[in-house]
């Protein structure tokens, strides 16, 4: 029997949250940027070992201030995926501030940090910039090329299953 888990994608606007979701669920990608307002929800079943897990993924409207997120969106989440844009420093310069807020309000929900759009940057320079800010990204991904997308969602699912 499938277990369902809610994941919420968080981050600044334009970092590629919706693109990651579409790449993962539909295996599609569009260069055009379309703003997400409110919340857009998709689901996909993955198999972790022999266990089917239905991921209900909430792609919520981007913001630079996580204190502004509507609590109802984050309610009942089993994991947060914090997405930043590897090509725009401003989308990860306030990461620790936002992480502090999440750990204070949702202490039991694990946060996975994803640097998206790595196809646009020099990874070595990015790593250096992240190190300077003490940021440890769990994955560097590209919704455009598909790099690490399947992997990160599957790993998050496995982690949730382990924590359940």
């Amino acid at each position: 029997m499938s277990v369902s888990k809610k994941i919420v994608l968080l981050g600044h606007f334009g970092v590629g949250k919706s693109s990651l979701l579409r790449r993962f669920v539909e295996n599609t990608f569009s260069e055009n940027y379309t703003v997400t307002i409110g919340v857009h929800i998709m689901k996909k079943e993955v198999l972790i070992g022999n266990q089917p897990v239905t991921l209900i993924i909430w792609d919520v409207e981007g913001t630079d201030d996580f204190t502004k997120y509507r609590p109802s969106y984050l309610l009942g989440a089993s994991a947060f995926i914090y997405v930043f844009d590897a090509s725009r420093k401003v989308t990860y310069s306030d990461l620790s501030y936002n992480l502090d807020h999440l750990s204070e309000k949702y202490p039991h929900v694990p946060v996975h940090i994803i640097g998206n759009k790595v196809d646009l940057v020099d990874v070595e320079a990015l790593q250096q910039a992240l190190n300077e800010q003490n940021i440890q990204a769990d994955y560097l991904s590209s919704a455009k090329t598909g790099e690490n997308v399947e992997q990160l969602f599957t790993d998050v699912a496995a982690q949730m299953l382990k924590n359940a």
Binding site: F13, Y33, G38, R88
Partner: protein
Amino acid sequence: MLKSLQEEFLQKNTQVIVVDQEAKVLDTTNTLMRVKKDTLLTDYHPFFYSITSLFDQEKASHYFYCVQIEVLSKQCFFDIRVHIDPKKAEAVLFIIDLTDHYKSVHQIKQVRNESIIDFNMAQELNNQLEVQRGFKNKFLANVSHEIRTPLNSILGFINVLQGTALNREQLDLVNIIKSSSQNLTAIVDDLLDISKIEAGRLEIKNKRFDFREYLDRLSATYALQAEEKRLEFTVEIGEKIPKFLVIDHLRINQILVNLLDNAIKYSHKGRVTLKVFTQSRNLRKIPLTIEVIDQGIGIDQEHISTIFDSFTQIEKQGLFGGSGLGLSIVKQLTELMGGQITVESTKDKGSTFRFTLDVGVSHDQKRKKIEKRKTAIEPVAKTDRKRILLGEDVEVNQLLLLKLFADRKEYSLDIAKNGEQVLKFLDNYHYDLILMDLTMPIMDGFDTAARIRSHSNKRINKLPIIALTARRSDEDREACKEVGMNAYLTKPLDEDLLFGTIQKQINKYKRKKDTD
């Protein structure tokens, strides 16, 4: 009436669904989306999946804003209120269709976010360019400095060699080496200037300056150069041009020298003209226009837009030499001074470089500033031999100075390899002056000078110190002043300037000592 309108609105825009704890649909109004009774609500949209976990929570009510749900292939935006009744083990969902409202919000946010992202990207690009530019400037400054040090030795020894008994052929060859070395020095200087301008470290220093006298001297120099290439050289200076301007004369000279050098270099026949004029008789500020016109090889339209870029040369075949930095420096200096430069050119017919800038007019157009009384270089008797201490770590530079001093019987030279040794020598011997390299191991020139100035012995702490350095930055010059050095000479050393400065400083020191 109002009630019926309200009911009509609610009927059209809201849907109520009642489900049990398993999310089985017990009842529905089916206004917005078709949901069958006794089916599972979770089958209709993943949103309903997530909320089933809330049914067993204590909180009775939740409100979800702007949930995107596709209904009959149409993207809808709903606000959904979920009311849980634990006693009945039921939940009631109130779904309100606000698609039109959220779509208008969507358009506004789309435009806003796109412009912010564009701005972020531009900032990001700017930062990257800044980093690259900083790296380039640092690289240029370091390389220039490294090249200047051996170049100093080459030029110094060429001067020594010129003073030896050479036959005509040898002298010609030495002259060629000297000329090439001087060209190389000019290129290195250009590189340093470019790096300074781009790093924003070059300051414009406006001072009262006899502009007309300067133009006369400049014209005389270039008339000679033009004559060597059988070119005609004419100068037209407008009658409204004041004699004294308030201007950075070093930089205006750099601009004009570059433009006139180019005009002569790229002309094989005809005339080179320097025009200086203004339309204004204002007593405080005038718009100055300077044109350098030649009838040389000209620039084709394809290259004219890049002519002021660094490392651009019209002729790539190396016929004319140079680094291609001159015009870039001219443009950047002109802009730094608040002016503009333009070029008009026709291939094989010639070019006109025109630069305009607002310059201050000195309120005093008559008085020539009283020049500081030049200290006469007094002959020194052999018995009055002056003892000089040189602080220098590079052997080849030590050797060069030894050679230069060898012919000067009025001086003797001791050499210390670093600042620490300089201090030791000073404690043990009497000196009349110190020549101090700035970059030395163990203790550098700045530190050593500062220690000399704070020395308890008056005989030592007042000694004149001349900085000798391949570094030409204003910061270094200022730093030398700050630590109490008396003069600053840059390498490659000019022999006459070196001994002139030494004698001047010694005389000054002696006079001061006599009056104390």
